[in-house]
Symmetry: C2
Subunit: 336 residues, 2 copies
C-alpha cells in the first residue's frame, strides 16, 4: 500500500462508513435530541485539524451547533482546562496516539462532558478514553501524508452533522452519492498529471478557499508542503484581502478552490482581480483541475480534495521527490 493505493481506496472507505457508522452515531443523535449538546469542542492536529475546520461549517449549517477548536496545551501543559458543561468534545487523530488530544478527552470525561473520538485504531488510547469511539475504518495508513484518513474523517463528520441535525431524506440521499462522486474524480488522474508536470517549477504559492472548502485549501497546502516541498500557505479568500495579499509577488502563484453556493461570485471576483492587477498565475480547482460537481456544496470537500491530492502527488514525482519518505517527517508525531 503506497500513497497511490491509499488515494484510490477512498470511495470504498466512504461506502464502509455509510453502512457501518450509523450504529455508533445513534447515541450521539439521542443526546442531541435530549438537548444535551450546546456546542462542540474539537481537539485535533495536522490534517485532522483541517477536518475540524470542515466540522465548523457542516455542524454549524446542518446541526446549527457552534464548533470550537480546542487549545490542547491548556489541558496538557498549563493545567488550566476550561469548563466543558454543555459541550460534545471530539478528539480526531489518525493514530489515536497524540498525547495532547488524548489529554483533552480525558479531562472532558473527568468533567462528565459527552465525549467522542474519531480514530483509525479502536484500540488506541484516544478511542479507549472516549465514551463514544467512532471507528474511521480506513485501514492502516502507511504513507506519511494522510489522504484516505482525511476523507474518512470528513465522511464521519458529515454523517455526524446529519445525525445531530433534523435529518432530512435529501441529506441521506446526498451522502449515499459520495463514493461514486469520489470514483469519478479519481478517473481524471492522467489529465491532472499533465497539469502537474507543467507546474514542476512551483516553489511557493497561496492557496485560497472559503466556506465549506476552506478546509480543502488548508489540506491542499499541507499536502503541497509535505509531499512536494512547496511553501504553500492557505487562506480564507476573505482574510487574504486583509493584509496577506501584499506579500504576493508580481506574477506569483495562486491556487484556488472555487466555492459553489453563496460565496462563488466572491471567489471568482477575487481570482479575476489577482490575475489582472497582480498578474498572478492561477490554478483553479474546478476550472483547471477537473472533478465531477454532482454533490451539494456541504459535501463537495469530500470530492474536491481528490484532484488536489492527485495533483500534489504528481507534482512531487515531477520534481523527482520520494512521496513515501518526505524529509523530516514521521507518521506519528507525539506532541503533548
Amino acid at each position: 500500500m503506497g500513497l497511490t493505493d491509499e488515494i484510490g481506496a477512498q470511495p470504498a472507505i466512504a461506502e464502509r462508513l455509510l453502512r457501518e457508522l450509523p450504529d455508533e452515531l445513534a447515541p450521539l443523535a439521542a443526546a442531541a435530541r435530549n438537548g444535551r449538546i450546546g456546542y462542540v469542542l474539537i481537539a485535533a492536529r495536522g490534517s485532522s485539524d483541517h477536518a475540524a475546520i470542515y466540522a465548523q461549517y457542516v455542524l454549524g449549517a446542518l446541526a446549527r451547533l457552534p464548533v470550537a477548536l480546542a487549545t490542547p496545551s491548556l489541558f496538557s501543559r498549563y493545567a488550566t482546562p476550561p469548563r466543558l458543561a454543555g459541550a460534545l468534545v471530539i478528539g480526531i487523530s489518525q493514530s489515536g496516539r497524540s498525547p495532547d488530544v488524548v489529554a483533552v478527552i480525558e479531562e472532558a470525561r473527568r468533567q462528565r462532558a459527552l465525549t467522542a473520538a474519531m480514530t483509525n485504531d479502536p484500540a488506541s488510547p484516544l478511542a479507549v478514553a472516549a465514551e463514544h469511539p467512532l471507528d474511521l475504518r480506513a485501514g492502516t495508513e502507511l504513507s506519511v501524508a494522510a489522504t484516505k484518513t482525511y476523507t474518512a474523517q470528513l465522511m464521519a463528520i458529515a454523517m455526524l452533522a446529519v445525525a445531530l441535525g433534523d435529518a432530512e431524506a435529501t441529506e441521506h440521499e446526498a451522502l449515499s452519492r459520495v463514493p461514486d462522486a469520489q470514483r469519478a474524480a479519481l478517473e481524471h488522474a492522467d489529465r491532472v498529471s499533465v497539469i502537474a508536470d507543467a507546474h514542476a517549477g512551483l516553489v511557493d504559492c497561496a492557496v485560497l478557499g472559503r466556506g465549506f472548502n476552506l478546509a480543502t485549501a488548508f489540506e491542499w497546502a499541507l499536502k503541497l508542503k509535505e509531499l512536494a516541498y512547496v511553501r504553500a500557505q492557505a487562506y480564507s479568500s476573505a482574510d487574504f484581502q486583509h493584509g496577506p495579499v501584499a506579500s504576493l509577488a508580481h506574477g506569483g502563484d495562486v491556487l484556488a478552490v472555487v466555492a459553489r453556493g453563496p460565496l462563488a461570485a466572491d471567489t471568482a471576483e477575487l481570482v479575476a482581480r489577482l490575475r489582472k492587477e497582480r498578474r498572478a498565475r492561477l490554478l483553479v480547482l474546478a476550472d483547471h483541475l477537473p472533478f465531477p460537481d454532482t454533490l451539494p456544496e456541504w459535501l463537495s470537500p469530500l470530492v474536491d480534495i481528490i484532484p488536489a491530492q492527485l495533483f500534489t502527488a504528481a507534482l512531487a514525482r515531477a520534481k523527482g521527490l520520494d512521496v513515501e519518505r518526505p524529509r523530516g517527517l514521521k507518521k506519528v508525531t507525539l506532541t503533548s
Copy 2:
C-alpha cells in the same frame, strides 16, 4: 501620526484602558457570576483574529471558558447561523465596519445571547449592534498595518479574562505593570533596527510560537507580509512538526517566539533541532530581539509583539518599502 507614532502610543493606550475600561466590563463580570456564560464565541478578521487566538488562551486559563472562533459566512452568507444559547458573543474589529462581523453580533442579539463588541469607534455599526460595546480607546489608526489597535485589543481581552474569572490581586497587579513593560520594550528600537538591517534579504520564513504567544507568531507573520512583503507563515510549533517542516529548505529562515512557562523547553528543543538538522537561520524573539521579560506568561504577548513590530518596520525600511502604503491594501476591507 505615522506607523512609528502608532507603535510608540501603545503604553499610553494600555494606561487609558486600565483606568477607563473596568466600568464597561462590570456588567459582563456580573453575567459570569450569575452563570450566564457557558462559552465564548468571537467573530474577527485579520489582526483582530490574532487577538481572538490570544483570547482562546487567556479566557481559557484565567476564566476557564472555552472560546470558539466564529465562521462569519455561516451567518452572513449561508443563512444557517448556529444556535448561541449560553454563549457570550464578541465581535472584534478596529473600524467596527466589517459587515460579516456585524452580522454575527446582530444574529446573536436576535437570539438574545449576551453580546459585546471591541472597536475603536463607539459610533460604528458593530458597537451599536452589541449590547455591551467595549471602546478600545486607541484613537484613529491611520497606518494600514494595525499595531496600537492590536495591543489595545489584547489589553481589553486580558482585562476581560480577569473580570470574568475569580479575579486575584496578583492578576490586577500584573495588569498594572503592562504599560511600563511596553515602554521598556520600545527603548530597544535602535538595537532592533541593526538586526533588521542584517536581514534585509529576507523573502520567506516560518514564524513559530505556541501557547499564549501563538497569537504573537500569527501577528508577526501578518506584519511581515503587509509591511515587508515577506512570505511569512506562522505555525504552532507543535503543528509545524506534523508536516510543514518538510517544506523548510536547507538553510531556510525561521523566526521563533520562545514561550516562557511550561512550553519553554519544547520550543527551545525544536529551535535547536532546526538549527542542527536543517541548518535553519534562526531569529529568536527573546534571544536575538531583546525585550523586558518582567510580566507573567499570560501577559507576555502584550510586550513580545513590540520588538516584532519594530523589527518589521525597520526591515521594510531597509528594503526601501513605504510602510504607510503597502501594495494592494486598504485600511478597511469590507468582506461579507
